[in-house]
Symmetry: C2
Subunit: 597 residues, 2 copies
């Protein structure tokens, strides 16, 4: 079994000390979970992750999911008990409305606990994870009856949900989709078509599965303008609200994947299945995006979570594995060799992952907090500003935390040497599981295009200007602070690169859209570096304050000061490479004919 200790202290540091969680105490949800309650919730989540989820992780990978001839799908044996414990604990409804049985706590608390549970078993957490997206869509677009029928059972975890977008010939380009919806006299629709890559499309963890599905109503316009969102339950709700007739939706096969073996990735066949419109006809794509954005933050959580568990195992191995001697002379002369953590190159791997995880957690929780403030802040201005920042950061959280998360898992695996390549040691599974996060819910190239092609220019660049202002002001404030100046100087250099990159886009991409496409991925990572650097700046500032005031926990805060310095010295220099690359433009990229590849 892999090691895992949920980083509750780290989460508390970020939420409470860096992001001033308690300053929002007057807002809905926050008032019910002041810092001491928050800590208790995190500790409970940590126990569930460590004691219940973690032991199911590797057996889930080995056992995988099995589809029987009748189309039913069996998940790994250990998952049922673990999911039952998750339900019993009320974790599904943590941040859901009390009106429908949830606890109404802040989304940032949900995201924080989510990291622990996903780290302990990513494949298992996908079942409730996808349900959350479906809940959000029903909350936003459902009729009162739909809400009453579905939400209490979904928020209770008795029923789970899915997102059905992809078809064999269309993934990113949803305008091509062919699944059809025929109106029926009673106002429902008969849905026919095939969807693929449907995570948790069929399984044995819940009584019912609520499929949210994109389809085209008979006669609707071609392309994306003719797509509607439907709600298609596996079992139709009965008159008492319980389970009624089995619907004509079935799992045709499940995929053999590189990782997340414990999650069933299904081909779903709809053969005149009965469904109901969710929201307005032909407005399905927009409705889908409301659930997509939340799902993207959830995938960012996955990137961070897998990176963290991989890191913890690599660190433990590096402390224990004896091999070679420190370059400066034996550190443990009484042993046959020193632990490999004495070797600078091993530390380079560990420090890189550590520095990215700690800042990644801060970036994620900062973004999650914006999701809360966008709904719960008291003034219009605050809500608008939070919503702006949320929109800007969502593709960055998804794209950057998953690209980095995968790279980090690979680096952590490398610390194990040959032992990392052996499945029994678990590091391979982290790499295989992490790989999907770069792909699903919009491949990372699409995240980059969302950032560059949509989010930057939105409302005349209002969100971006506010972001530049905030980070710029932080740098300015640090200039004359002896402790902070080395950090803010490095951050300012990164911010300058990002602003130059933005300027380059304004001058070169509007008239020539290929330049935007060619720059997108490097721009997204440049944005991520500056944001992670800003998080380090804020964390280090708090750490210096605590060290100066002598509040104790010195080793913890000194760790922040050192790790933040590592980030500035070794990771921040990447910004100029990103700028140089994207400034090369699209010409060379587009020069070769397709057949020259």
């Amino acid at each position: 079994m892999p090691n895992y200790s949920a980083p509750v202290r780290e989460t508390m540091f970020v939420l409470n000390e860096v992001l001033s969680y308690d300053s929002f105490a007057s807002l809905a949800g926050f008032s019910e979970a002041p810092p001491d309650v928050l800590e208790t919730i995190l500790a409970e989540g940590a126990r569930l992750a460590e004691d219940v989820f973690l032991p199911t992780n590797r057996v889930g990978d080995l056992e995988g999911c099995v589809r029987a001839e009748d189309g039913s799908v069996t998940t790994p044996k250990a998952f049922r008990e673990a999911y039952a414990r998750y339900r019993e604990g009320g974790w599904m409804g943590l941040a859901q409305p009390q009106e429908f049985g949830g606890q109404g706590l802040p989304y940032c608390v949900h995201a924080a606990v989510g990291e622990y549970l996903v780290a302990a078993n990513m494949a298992l957490m996908m079942y409730p994870g996808l349900t959350l997206g479906a809940i959000s869509a029903i909350l936003l677009h459902g009729t009162e009856e739909q809400k009453r029928t579905y939400l209490p059972r979904m928020i209770d975890g008795a029923w789970t949900g899915t997102m059905n977008l992809t078809e064999p010939h269309c993934g990113t380009d949803l305008g091509l989709l062919r699944t059809r919806a025929l109106p029926r006299p009673d106002g429902s629709y008969a849905i026919s078509g095939q969807k693929i890559f449907i995570s948790a499309g069929e399984h044995d963890l819940s009584e019912n599965i609520v499929h949210l599905l994109l389809a085209r109503i008979e006669g609707a316009p071609a392309g994306t303008k003719g797509i509607s969102l439907f709600l298609v339950p596996k079992f139709l709700p009965g008159p008492d609200g319980g389970l009624g007739k089995r619907n004509a939706v079935s799992c045709g096969s499940i995929e053999h994947k590189m990782g997340i073996h414990g999650n069933a990735t299904c081909v779903m066949n709809y053969d005149g299945a009965i469904g109901w419109l969710l929201g307005e006809p032909n407005a399905g794509l927009k409705a889908m995006f409301t659930m997509m954005n939340e799902a993207r933050l959830g995938v960012g959580v996955q990137g961070l979570a897998v990176s963290e568990i991989a890191y913890q195992n690599a660190a433990a191995y590096a402390r224990e594995r004896l091999q070679g001697r420190a370059l400066t002379g034996p550190s443990e002369p009484d042993k046959p060799a020193d632990p490999i953590i004495v070797h600078p190159d091993v530390r380079r791997n560990l420090m890189t992952v550590k520095a990215l995880n700690e800042a990644g957690r801060a970036m994620l929780l900062w973004t999650a907090l914006q999701a809360d403030l966008a709904h719960r802040a008291t003034s219009d201005d605050e809500r608008l500003a939070a919503d702006d920042l949320l929109g800007l950061l969502t593709p960055v959280v998804k794209g950057v935390l998953t690209d980095r998360g995968f790279d980090n898992a690979v680096m952590a695996q490398q610390v194990f040497g040959g032992h990392g390549y052996i499945e029994e040691n678990g590091m391979s599974q982290f790499v295989r599981d992490a790989r999907i996060t770069m792909i699903y819910e919009g491949a990372n190239g699409i995240q980059a295009l969302d950032l560059v092609g949509r989010k930057l220019a939105l409302n005349g660049g209002r969100a971006l200007q506010a972001y530049f202002q905030e980070v710029g002001a932080f740098c300015e404030a640090g200039r004359n602070d002896e402790n902070m100046a080395p950090y803010t100087k490095a951050l300012k250099k990164g911010l300058n690169d990002l602003q130059a990159a933005t300027m380059w886009l304004m001058q070169n991409a509007i008239t020539k859209p290929d330049n935007a496409g060619a720059a997108a991925t490097d721009y997204m990572h440049l944005f991520g570096l500056v944001t992670l650097g800003y998080m380090w700046g804020r964390m280090v500032r708090v750490a210096h304050d605590r060290l100066a005031s002598g509040t104790g926990d010195t080793a913890f805060y000194e760790g922040k000061v050192v790790t933040g310095r590592f980030f500035m010295e070794r990771i921040m220099p990447e910004t100029s490479m990103r700028l140089a690359r994207m400034s090369a433009g699209a010409d060379t990229l587009m020069a070769l004919p397709a057949e020259a590849f």
Copy 2:
């Protein structure tokens, strides 16, 4: 089945046009394979790879190896026929001495064909691949009798070989090894101990398996000074040279690995097995390194090969998969969508892999050519210069081509979107197979330390100075050439960074060895970037010459000009990041106590 077309034209371009293969026509081996014969050999190798090896690749991954209770190991069914065809074609002996049944052709020809065969099935090619290392060690260190007994059968492929270094508690740090050798009255030894991670340690492809093994002779000094190299055959040679008695060596189990499932990775138990000293007592580590260096080049070939087949499949997919429209307007308006190769971000992935593969192949063959010249060149000076360069480039070829090869396979997988995560499509296998190349034959961190800690300073830095001289002179020559100046300017910038990095090491690492360890990986990649850039410079110069002289094949040479420009614009800027990172030194890296991780 994955796509694969062996890049014979690319190999001929590098060997014949860029590296002036025909100028060595007077040397042994080269004289027997002038360019037209070379091309025929490559085409034959390509056929074996495409027609025979490729169909066994995915089935080998699925089927894996199976160990029976008696310790015998069965390889995937299709491997036997494919290996038989490899043997029959005489591929094993391509570059082996004619005296023992080989064909005596240059090593660079062997490496070129090796790329094709490894691309088509890496796991299968490991069986003969490890044999080659064993052959080299016997050639260099064996007695006449040992050579006569083993070499003809191994060069014929009837017997295969292995390298037995690792033990459960020691991988990199071989000084810790415990396997013991007791002298027997007849001059042989009784070997006892356990070795792990022994690739091809037991299998059913050959009649006999010749284990080369490191062990400590009873009473030998502790540490690396007491290690000897032994030859321990699975079957003792009989009086007629055929198979005699079964030796006391057996496979205790095989590993479940992330990839290369078709290759048996064995735990080997030696229970008083009879073995013979190979070379001098207590000089085993040095002898092992002669076979290790060749194996490292072989692993570099693997990095390139898997990257190439992954690239070819991604390129084919990008030309066929219809999704979205070009940002500049529909490129195929009569189809429902454009092929995804119109999207700049997809091209960014493809061009990156293409630019690295083409330069990687050139770097590899340039290095392989040095191995030939080190032995076959006519003057002492030439042999010495070639040997210097070979020593310098070997860790770079291993470390850089495998780190890049893995990243490239991941990038190629990303082009497939969700379909890349499904095992049936083969891209996952490339990623899983490529992963091991960064680890075995010395993890890449060890390659970096070999370069920085050993190779740079060897003979007063003679090899490095010659390298700087050669690349510097190339840049100087390009300055006033209108076609070449944009390339050599970018290369010179990279060379300056490398020289600054070298200077930094001289000033900071000698007094403080942790600075060398902390800089090693970045230095190695910086060295790799400059070398790959130099290869691009040389390839582009030839391409310009050909285009100017109008020899035809215009599209091919224009492709080189464009792809080389891409490398300089988008990949070369990484050098300054590498320099900045390593110049940060070791202090921050070493600051935290082990328990802070």
